[in-house]
């Protein structure tokens, strides 16, 4: 054993239990009360000695297999019989699809009964006499080991890899380089980031379109205590890149008494107490959407980051690292709300280049 624990030569091997197992000949030595008495004799089951009981088991197994067949027939019948849109009420499940319920239950019964039959068969009718297999160590015999190592050395020597270092090194170089082709091919999986994450569809003069009514917003549309969602004018649901644009441009508006706005810049960028903030959480990008009217807090339902909309949307709680960006808004000559420009900083989750 000591030779095998080579790396630990400084620590004694005494800690290993001396005998790993009592001689598995299973002869209980008289002097050891804990000796292995060997495999206990097999005890017959009722089915082993009573043919009637065995018959009963046989019938039980056959019954389950038959039930399975019937369930499969019922499955096919349900498939044909139930229209796909039939909804039924089943207590306590509620309103469910009749077809789905029937197919699932019949399939479940058909499968379960095969399993139950097979297991019952194995447990009651197949021999339950325990048998013994010997184990063999995984490691090869020393002679085999020597042979393999000698063969390997012979092979290595014949390849002259150790002697002709030039071949070896250039081969390593070639094999190491060739996967680069594969890496290069991945280049077109996407564009470079450039400053894409810094810009949104907002620009000076863009109207704020109500996300629910699709109408441009006027200041009087925004009541105290309500949360209004808006998108930039010109961004339509059918647009090719609507999803990725709205992922950055989504906006929420609330009206706060101007005297309650604590942040100076927030007040400057608001109109008559209406403030517009990015709806995209600065943590990992969920849409912030739960608004507390009294406190002007908004909460992200994903990870509970909470922002104070009356104080520059600073983070009150949760894992977000910085405030929601504010959009500078005003009213144009026709009385509609409009953006004074894009967001001053990137919206959404922080990233390395954000700074």
């Amino acid at each position: 054993m000591s030779s095998e624990t080579g790396p630990h030569e400084n620590v004694s091997d005494e800690n290993l239990p001396s005998a790993q197992e009592p001689g598995h000949g299973a002869v209980a030595r008289k002097d050891d009360p804990f000796a292995d008495p060997g495999l206990p004799p097999h005890e017959p089951r009722i089915q082993d000695i009573d043919e009637k009981a065995a018959r009963r088991s046989e019938r039980a197994v056959a019954f389950m297999f038959t039930l399975s067949m019937l369930a499969t027939v019922a499955f096919i019948a349900s498939y044909v019989a139930f229209p796909i849109d039939k909804i039924i009420f089943v207590w306590p499940l509620g309103h469910v699809s009749a077809l789905n319920l029937a197919l699932g239950l019949t399939l479940g019964i058909a499968l379960f009964c095969i399993g139950a039959g097979a297991v019952h068969w194995a447990r009651t009718l197949m021999s339950d006499e325990e048998m013994i297999d010997e184990r063999h160590t995984v490691a090869a015999e020393p002679a085999v080991r020597e042979q393999v190592l000698a063969d390997f050395k012979q092979g290595a020597k014949e390849s002259a890899m150790g002697r002709r270092k030039l071949i070896r090194n250039t081969m390593f170089g070639a094999v190491a380089l060739v996967p680069l082709s594969g890496v290069v091919l991945l280049r077109d999986m996407g564009p470079l980031p450039e400053d894409k994450l810094r810009h949104t569809a907002w620009a000076k003069g863009k109207l704020l379109v109500n996300e629910n009514t699709n109408e441009p917003l006027r200041p009087e549309d925004i009541a105290v205590g309500s949360l209004t969602f808006a998108r930039p004018e010109g961004l339509e649901h059918h647009d090719e890149d609507f999803q990725q644009e709205i992922a950055k441009a989504a906006l929420m508006l609330v009206r706060i008494e101007p005297k309650d706005i604590k942040d100076k810049r927030e007040l400057d960028w608001s109109h008559d107490g209406i403030v517009a903030y990015s709806k995209v959480c600065t943590h990992v990008g969920c849409p912030v959407s739960l608004y507390e009217q009294q406190t002007h807090h908004v909460l992200c339902p994903c990870h509970q980051s909470t922002f104070d909309l009356s104080d520059g949307a600073r983070v009150l709680f949760g894992p977000a690292g910085h405030p929601l960006p504010q959009l500078n808004i005003s009213v144009n000559k026709d009385g509609y709300l409009e953006a004074q420009g894009d967001f001053a900083e990137p919206v959404g989750p922080a990233f390395w280049e954000r700074g």
Partner: protein
């Protein structure tokens, strides 16, 4: 055929009986595939029996069910992000703008007869697959079944668990519904937090800005081809090694480290294990019929500017979710660059939490210095330190799972989200330690009880009155089978560093690693780490003394 030429002796007798058809087929195959040698070793292979050995089977069978139902789903699913207007049979969604992926998932649910059932079975089986792998892994851990020669198989199993998580994640993202899309957004946010290359990784993965038009198709090929392909390979290797090493067994009369006692593959395990596949499949089918899972038609299609409350991932993604939820929102600006520690640290702790359990077999074998094969499974109590570590790891995992569902805990138990967050933050460091200490003590207590049972017999429940009026409970001595079973485990002695100088008085060099190993070994196997198992001398002394019940 070959029988005629191979056995001229019997053939010469003239009565050349034709072998039965089955045998002739087997002969044909053997001549080409060598199946007889294969069957000789395996057909009557012995498998030991214990209820906990079926946990891995549950995982295996649910994997097969996932593949069967998954192939069916690919017949109808369109992995495309093209925007379409829905005009199918599900009335509430008519006219709604959605991706083809979502529309085809609606079609599977409402247009294809049995399609909904297949979807539900697929999803339920995936949840059960992950849960079964987790519990199976714990079984292997607590019984020490990862020890030599099975360390590599432990790693295969661990990889299957981790890949299973990612396959599950890519799978539930495919319908492109509001909930799963939010999960993908979370992933994108996490990727963005990676220093230096985060934005590049995100752009390459999504083919541009989130969500873009590519990720469904890309997740699809990962979900149906790349990941399951790797998993299938690992699974086959896992099973081959189980066959090759032969299954572990618990100690007992006649069961030693050199044998395996149980029933043969043919017919008992063929019937039991084969039947068990149908049992698992049947139960999952019934569950899928009765309990709706992932009703994407309620959630609606994904839009990056919309979200639902109770945004929860599938359970196995709950612990990374917990890490992200409770982490303080640290963000550092260095020379014009953002270091998003609030997201990046959780992203890095994730592999640490997982990896902690993966490397354990190698740590334990280094501490014990044991290079022998082990085929007898430990009872968890007989390895208190290991059991303590395992319980601590589970506690760690579950603390984070609580963090991942903090909103549900808050609403269901009327708790403050702030309190839960702080519980998880502190619990992340403290709970595993407490659980470790308690578990180890429980194990030691159980060892003491075993010791008492061996030396003094089991409590019979019979009260005896002694002549002088004292009442005692009669203890019945155990039979030899029980005595053997309770004393069959091995106990290590703590490793010693030995004297500081060798026999010539020269100072021995003892590396820091060796000192640490000795210290750990003392913790594992020292006085506080295990209760010495009774020796036959102690047993005989008490036996001869009598009366000392």
């Amino acid at each position: 055929m070959s029988t005629a030429t191979d056995t001229p002796g019997s053939a010469a007798a003239g009565e050349k009986k034709k072998a039965p058809a089955g045998e002739r087929v087997a002969d044909w195959a053997d001549g080409r595939l060598g199946i007889f040698s294969l069957a000789k070793a395996n057909m009557r292979k012995i498998f030991p029996d214990h209820w906990s050995f079926m946990l891995g089977e549950v995982a295996l069978y649910s994997f097969i069910i996932i593949i069967l139902t998954g192939v069916y789903l690919t017949l109808f699913f369109h992995p495309s992000m093209n925007e379409v207007e829905y005009h199918g049979p599900y009335v509430p969604m008519q006219g709604v703008q959605m991706s083809e992926a979502f529309a085809s998932t609606l079609d599977i649910s409402f247009d294809v007869r049995g399609g909904l059932l297949m979807r539900q079975i697929h999803h339920w089986a995936a949840l059960i697959f992950l849960a079964a792998m987790f519990v199976h892994m714990m079984r292997v851990f607590f019984t020490g079944a990862f020890r030599k020669p099975r360390e590599v198989n432990w790693l295969f199993g661990f990889l299957l668990f981790v890949l299973g998580m990612f396959t599950g994640f890519t799978g539930y993202s495919l319908p492109d519904d509001l909930l799963s899309g939010t999960g993908v957004r979370f992933m994108e946010g996490a990727i963005l937090s990676v220093p230096i290359v985060g934005t590049y990784l995100s752009m390459f993965l999504f083919g541009g800005e989130f969500p873009g038009h590519d990720f469904i198709a890309r997740f699809y090929s990962a979900h149906v081809l790349l990941l399951p392909g790797i998993m299938l390979g690992l699974l086959v290797a896992h099973l081959i090694l189980v066959f090759y090493h032969k299954h572990t067994q618990f100690a007992g009369p006649g069961r030693t480290n050199k044998n395996v006692v149980g029933m043969p593959l043919l017919p008992v395990y063929m019937a039991k294990a084969g039947g068990f596949f149908f049992l698992v499949f049947g139960v999952i089918s019934a569950v899928a019929a009765l309990f709706t899972i992932n009703p994407i038609w309620v959630l609606g299609p994904y839009r990056p500017d919309q979200v639902s409350t109770n945004a929860q991932p599938d359970w196995y993604m709950g612990f990374p979710e917990g890490l992200v939820r409770v982490m303080p929102g640290w963000e550092i600006n260095v020379a014009g660059h953002s270091l998003v520690l609030g997201v990046f640290i959780p992203l890095m702790i994730l592999p640490v939490v997982l990896g902690a359990i993966a490397v354990y077999p190698f740590i334990e074998s280094w501490v014990t210095g044991d290079k022998r094969e082990h085929h007898i499974a430990d009872r968890p109590r007989n390895a208190p330190t290991r059991t303590g570590f395992g319980a601590a790891w589970i506690a760690w995992y579950f603390v984070l799972l609580v963090g991942g569902g903090n909103d549900l805990w808050a609403t269901h138990f009327h708790l403050s989200i702030n309190a839960i967050t702080w519980f998880v933050r502190i619990g992340f460091f403290v709970v595993p330690v407490i659980v470790f200490v308690i578990t180890r003590r429980i194990c030691l207590g159980l060892q003491r009880r075993d010791r008492d049972k061996v030396l003094h017999g089991r409590e019979s429940g019979t009260i005896k009155r002694l002549p002088h009026g004292e009442f005692v409970e009669v203890h019945e001595p155990l039979n030899q089978e029980q005595l053997h079973t309770l004393t069959a485990h091995e106990q290590y002695q703590p490793a010693e560093i030995g004297p500081g100088t060798d026999e010539n008085g020269v100072e021995r060099k003892v590396s820091r690693g060796q000192k640490m190993r000795a210290k750990l070994s003392k913790g594992y196997f020292g006085e506080s780490g295990q209760i010495p198992k009774p020796t036959s001398e102690e047993y005989r002394e008490i036996e001869s003394g009598h009366g000392h019940h």
